[in-house]
Symmetry: C2
Subunit: 383 residues, 2 copies
């Protein structure tokens, strides 16, 4: 493990100093050290201890025999992503323990689309001023996300940017690295006519469209702390986690909007491991910014279309709620939000039922939402 | 190559839309596509094309025989870092082509400390509003940094965070991955009494201490566009790059302060490759936030101290300039700034001269700045 770094250090007592410039190093260093144990809890034996080091060390083939059996031509898969303006909602609600999970989810869900096994994650947190309580909650969220994704939180950077971020504003970026055997990497060429599109339910809005969400909240003067009975079913009890509850037991609007993005790594890895020889999965898509059509098309090749039946899954109530309050049209809703499907798996027809059952057994709500037809790389949605 | 992503997408024409919420997707998508060719120029044949993909693919053992000869037990080395408030100086000067180089430098210099060969890099750029000119310049800087470091720019995220970043403010984070053979990873245990500390000259302030720099500039009411003859020698002509020049030929204060962080990957890799069997390098340190002492100590083990002679290198004029204008004391200067040494290499005494010559041959200005003595893991500075 590398030392968790801070980009601003040093403390002086005469003339101008870093403390004068708004950078308080003592509270930052104390925070930095308290994070070590949080990070360590995500470590497997593949992480090589590197106290005080400048970078994190991750052994590629800890279990050498197993690794060599599974990987003849290993390909590293990497991506970078942030949480977008969902962080501002966290600031408004002063709830910092969930956006770290979102951060891991946005990266890991992108990464597993290529069929990759998650290895490790690093975060970047930028704040105007270090508040150990707030940053501790953020990093605990990141560590919880890594635990759910089965990867190590190998390192991170906390940047204190005096004067750049106002008040409690902060920004989050994350980076994930995984590995896939070249021959097993999921690529668009595999998708064929007749394949079945499985949709995995989202846990609500996830981490896209929050500029619009916040605009609707402001324009319709919505109270984030108000409970709404009709928003209840959007997050089943088993997925609720540690959210605050209103007196009636109904979730508040803030609760629902801050629900963390679902991490699909575990069920997808289990599905892939179940079919080591057969290539049952021909394509996958993480439904992120641009909605279902805008992302599912990235899994297609120019010879096929995906025909998606909108009536084949139920849209969680939060989306109708936002649409009504904001007067947003249908097209725009589908272009900005996931509308209830967070991840798609395109499978060979003979294995569709078994794959859906496997995913359901590992906790997913799965719907057959469409099929692959002859076409030119587009997603066609019908009612 | 993965599609360069944007975290905010979708465009509507009725009711509230993403465009209303301050997110202009058309200009963003155009920008996104223009970046592909910039990224591609950094690619080696180890990068696997993945147009439209959700993540970048990097083949670990493209040249299988060579990889297997060099790597029996490969360890991935990864780190995350930002540029700190140097980005605000770039905004003040409206010069966006250098901070991308800083971003790569801050990460790669941390990574090579472990002896790792750089493989790939990913960036995260957050802006209030996409300005294709500005973002293009930033990404070209990142690509130039990757070229200097010999790594691929495998992916990146451009996040449009309406309402979060004011005016032209932006933030940058980066993430680097490299590989090192476990047995050859540079770890503090190797450092022994008698080893020699080589100091590699910095290209000025690099990317640390800019909160203090900006405070000094504001407090002393300094004009960034004014040329200062006495700042000339801080950046020799060969290192100046494309900086603007004043009429007299002397660099402006802005020029000197925006000089990109030096990337030490190439000379360090060449030095390491020159000694494949002998372990000539016993420790290294990137002189980042906390100054020389604060970083060199991270290369030591508890049985040794580093005795550093301050008179053994010349401090670039920008540091005296800042110190005088800001009335900053000596201790604080050394705690915040690199004071002219950007990277340290601790070598076995028998090879010190040859190592210094090798580094000099590849363009570094090298000084013997100290030696390893019996101690307890501290850096002791003498005049």
């Amino acid at each position: 493990m590398a030392k968790r770094k801070g980009s601003a250090r040093g403390r002086g007592d005469k003339g101008l100093s870093y403390a004068d410039a708004g950078v308080d190093l003592q509270s930052k260093d104390a925070f930095t050290e308290s994070l070590d144990s949080v990070m360590r809890r995500t470590f497997s034996s593949r992480v090589i201890p590197n106290p005080g080091g400048f970078a994190g060390l991750f052994r590629l083939d800890f279990n050498e025999k197993l690794f060599r059996r599974n990987y003849k031509d290993p390909v590293l898969v990497a991506c970078a992503d942030g949480v977008g303006t969902k962080v501002r909602l966290a600031v408004d609600l002063q709830r910092y323990d969930t956006v770290g999970i979102d951060l891991v989810a946005m990266n890991i869900n992108d990464m597993i689309v290529q069929g990759a096994e998650p290895l490790f994650f690093l975060d970047y947190i930028a704040v105007g001023k270090v508040d150990p309580h707030m940053l501790g909650a953020i990093v605990r969220g990141v560590a919880e996300g890594c635990r759910r994704a089965g990867c190590a939180l190998l390192g991170g950077e906390t940047a204190e940017m005096a004067g750049m971020y106002q008040g409690r504003d902060f920004d989050l970026a994350g980076f994930a690295v995984g590995v896939v055997e070249l021959d097993r990497a999921v690529r668009p060429l595999r998708v064929e006519v007749g394949d079945v599109v499985l949709g995995l339910a989202s846990d609500g809005v996830h981490s896209n469209g929050y500029s619009l969400v916040r605009k609707i909240v402001a324009a319709a003067d919505l109270d984030l702390s108000r409970a709404h009975t009709e928003l209840g079913p959007s997050a089943p009890a088993s997925r609720r986690g540690r959210r605050s509850r209103s007196a009636t037991g109904a979730p508040t609007l803030g609760d629902v909007l801050l629900t963390p993005t679902r991490i699909y790594a575990s069920p997808i890895m289990r599905l892939m491991r179940g079919y080591r020889v057969k290539k049952v999965i021909s394509g996958m898509a993480h439904i992120t910014g641009s909605g279902l059509a805008g992302n599912l098309c990235r899994a297609l090749n120019p010879r096929v279309d995906a025909l998606v039946r909108r009536s084949s899954w139920s849209v969680p109530p939060i989306f109708r709620f936002l649409q009504e309050r904001g007067g947003v049209d249908d097209e725009e809703m589908r272009r900005v939000f996931n509308m209830g499907i967070g991840y798609c798996v395109i499978v060979k027809p003979a294995f569709a039922k078994a794959a859906a059952q496997t995913l359901a057994r590992f906790g997913e709500r799965v719907s057959v939402i469409g099929e692959i037809v002859k076409g030119r790389g587009e997603v066609r949605e019908i009612e």
